[in-house]
Amino acid sequence: MNRPALLAPRDLAALAAALHRATPDSRLIAGGTDLMLRLRASGIRPDLLIDLSGLRELAFIRKEGGLVRIGAMTTFAQIQRDAMLAIHASCLSRAAAHVGSVQIRNVATIGGNVANASPCADAMPALLVLDASVGVLNRAGNIERRPLRDLLAEAGTTTLGTDEAIVDFSFAALSANQRSAFGKFGARSSVAVAELNGAMIVKLDETQRTITQARIAFGSIGPTAFVDDRVAAVLLDKPLNNDTIESFAQACSGMVSRSIPHRSSLPYKRHAVRGLAHDLGIAIQGAPMGSGAAEGFE
């Protein structure tokens, strides 16, 4: 039996060197919670495994002025517990809290979650509404920034090349008059793959009563998560109240109809998305002023 070679780079230079050796049969392993499953299911033996877990410099959460940066090897447990993110990127904070179980969150990384590109990935809608850019390292050792949406491709794949690796994510920190929320539901209330998930950011005017900007992203509906401008438009210049949220919910139903017209899950998702919409609306309305945070976390 052919065993894969194993490289465990400890810094970015070593990672770049490792990427040099990668072929289409090579695999990067971050936390391992997705890759270990894929390898077992497919029986594929990679020729090379590049173990990213030694790259401590990629496990960080920082705020530099108005910019938040998160290293690709940061775990969801770390994201969930970070006090700064709870204020300045609460939708991502909440999304992290909903990824799998404690055991999964302790090892699953945000980089791995995005690279695995499951249509149900919980971090995706949050990162999309945050308009995150992705730092991608190539074999030459250069880090190129790309918008996250440029990485998205068919379900389960990204546009990343064989010799590229995600190193970090960055996005503008939420300001005092912005509120964000994340919502999800599955077959049971916790430790469930998303049937539907979504994230939203709204900006309010000085009175904190009218929505001046809105950005919404959904996951688990199509092959990849996506931002929906039509739904967001429904919220513009509207008061932040129950009537507005109800229109928003109707718009979400319309979005589902547009997205998966032929899927057998359409009747259900078209109805149930209104629950997600109301959950997001309640969370946004409940957020204390100036914190950007939509709800507490454990």
Binding site: M1, G43, F185, A187, R188, S189, S190, V191, A192, V193, E195, S265, P267, Y268, H271, A272, R274, G275, L276, H278
Partner: protein, 774 residues
Amino acid sequence: MATAFKYVGRSYPAPDALRKASGELLYGSDLRLPGMLYARLVLSPHAHAAVGAIDTKAALSVPGVVGVYSYHDAPSTPYCRYRIVPGQAGCIDDEMLFASTARFVGDRVAAVVASSLEAASEAARLIEVVYTQLPPVFGADAALESGATRVHPGGNLVHQFDHATGEPAALPAGAVTTCTAVHTQMLHHAAIEPHTCLANFDASGKLTIYSPCQSVYGARTVVADLLGLAYNRVRVVKVPMGGSFGGKQEFILEPVTAYLAMQTGRPVSLTLDREECIRATTVRPEQRSVVRSAVRADGVLLSLEVDTLLAAGAYAGSSPDYAQAMAHKLTRLYRVGRYRHRGRVAYTNAPVAGGMRGWGAPDVATCAEIHMDQIARRLGLDPFDLRLRNLVHPGDIDPITGRSVGEARVRECLERGAEAFGWRERAAMPAGPGRIRRAVGLACGAHKNGILSGAFPDVCTMTLKMNEDGSLDLNASIHEVGAASVVTLKTIIAEELDVAPETISAREADSETSPYDFGCFGSRMTYVCGAGARALAAKLRDRLIAAAAELLQISPMILEAVNGRVRRIGVAGSDLSYPEIVRGSRMRHARDMIVTHTYKGTSNPGSYCVQFAQVEVDVLTGLTRVIRMLTAVDIGRAINRGMVEGQCRGAIQAGIGSALCEEVVLDGAGRAGTGGFKNYHLVNAADMPPVTVLLVEHDGDDGPYGAKSVGEIATVPTAAAIVNAVNRALGTAMTTLPLTPERIVAALGKVAEVAEVAEVAEVAEVGGWDASCS
């Protein structure tokens, strides 16, 4: 009826609890024998296909591979995985070690044996099988249509019956007839321990099987008969089991593992992964049932008819008996003049159905209790009152068996349970108009104690010996499935002999050394084996007294055994300790303090349970949360109180799953279990509601100290109670389980638009099977 017990009624830890907590206890897949090999199965990816040539060249060249086996090499004698006793009626021999015709996705086609699991897995992937696909048939109803593909040459109808008691009578004026069609789903037992087996065939031709099974003698029967070995050349050892819930009852891995051990002459270990466990062991059968009743205007049942169609899957297994067992449950629960039960069992190209905890009682109770709630709604009766009007009373005769239901305290369970649950107050609260609807539901269930029916030997032989220091060894074929049966038996013996339970040592079943017991099924452990243990202990006590009489040269009539000593009744200081008796008697009279007793069950009263549930349903997402449950169980007497409660709670976890989120789904190609636990959802700690357990202890039956069974009965009405609560909350009449969010949203779609709901409206079953209710 106040009785003070010294040991019975307390709470004791599970046997080997400390060894389980330290990680030291070895389960089947932890066992390692010198030279042990690992097996992997090759399972059919097709639901129906002729198995042709099997190319093993690439597989055999993987380093470490010892052999590859299929029907080309193995005996093709058909056998029945459910058979426990030789010559057992109702067993259809239709399964082979390896299929020459694959009859479901998951059918065994080949096995690889290698020196490591990795090598075996690699080799299994390299085996090339030529399949000639045949048209499959899914669904029992489709299977019974004329012209349907035959799963087996003899046709798809495996079994049918039509039982009735009483006479159909003319209905009085004002009588109401109701019909309900219910669909209960395939379920996975989901024991956390996957199926496993280890077999060793030594140079002397002796086969040893280490299996977490429920009957070592049953495993022996099937394997010895199949492989042509004398029964005393097949030793089956019951190893610690990580849960069964019926899934390890049938002999699924023992025959093939034994065969592989015989072929290689080395120990062979076979452990399935989770997908294989879901797909290729057994499932609770998928069933469609129709319940029809006639009731008086005041709700008293006049007649009850049940029509069940059960999908056996690819092999008959226990399905004929399972279907029959369902016919014996409702007349233990309700007084009804006329009961008719028709059952049909059909082959399908689907996973094999097998026994699951409750053995048909949960299935039939689900139908009957959803039906009863529909009657209650039509008559404008509180579901509580409707049940109370119809439940059996102690001493009623079950018309199907002609036997007494014994100390049936189900009415007390209902009344005390409703009081403790706050049923009246909670039932009076409106479901609410908003997004979250809240309601309560209840359901009643009956099960049994033992398998007394004439079809099986409901016997248990045990031996008890006392050592020179007064410690005891119990030798019995105990099959511990996780309910601490070993502890139950020790507690009973301790109570009877008036010695501390810690002085008793007991091991689990070993067909070579422990005497015959039929097996851990049919809710017979406490009721039959426990009663046997009590009789056994009494026998030893009598022997101790007789020996003491001999030693003391006085009449045994004036002796009594108290607190580990035999003494003259009422006279202090004139006694002998048990150790003194053992030693003295052996030395002076060549008498050993060892007794053997064969106990036969002579009654089979009902066990009863009433479940109360409160649910909240989100009408937008369709998600249901169970927010509280109360279970009232007619337990007779709790021997190990903590374990009885624990069993109830575990049963409720499974019941909630079967009501709301557990389902083995077949895709279009007949494949089940894809994705393991990712797609098969169990209730986890976060979703588990608070549960109150109320034990009704009113002894009087033949069980030890009045005890009755609990492990199965607590599963019986659980799903129905939850379904009833959801239907009340939403004003729906859903009858297809599980009530997934999709089904709930679809059912709501037929009710008035969410925003405009003002009153509860009743709707027909959505998308379900209602052909027979017209």
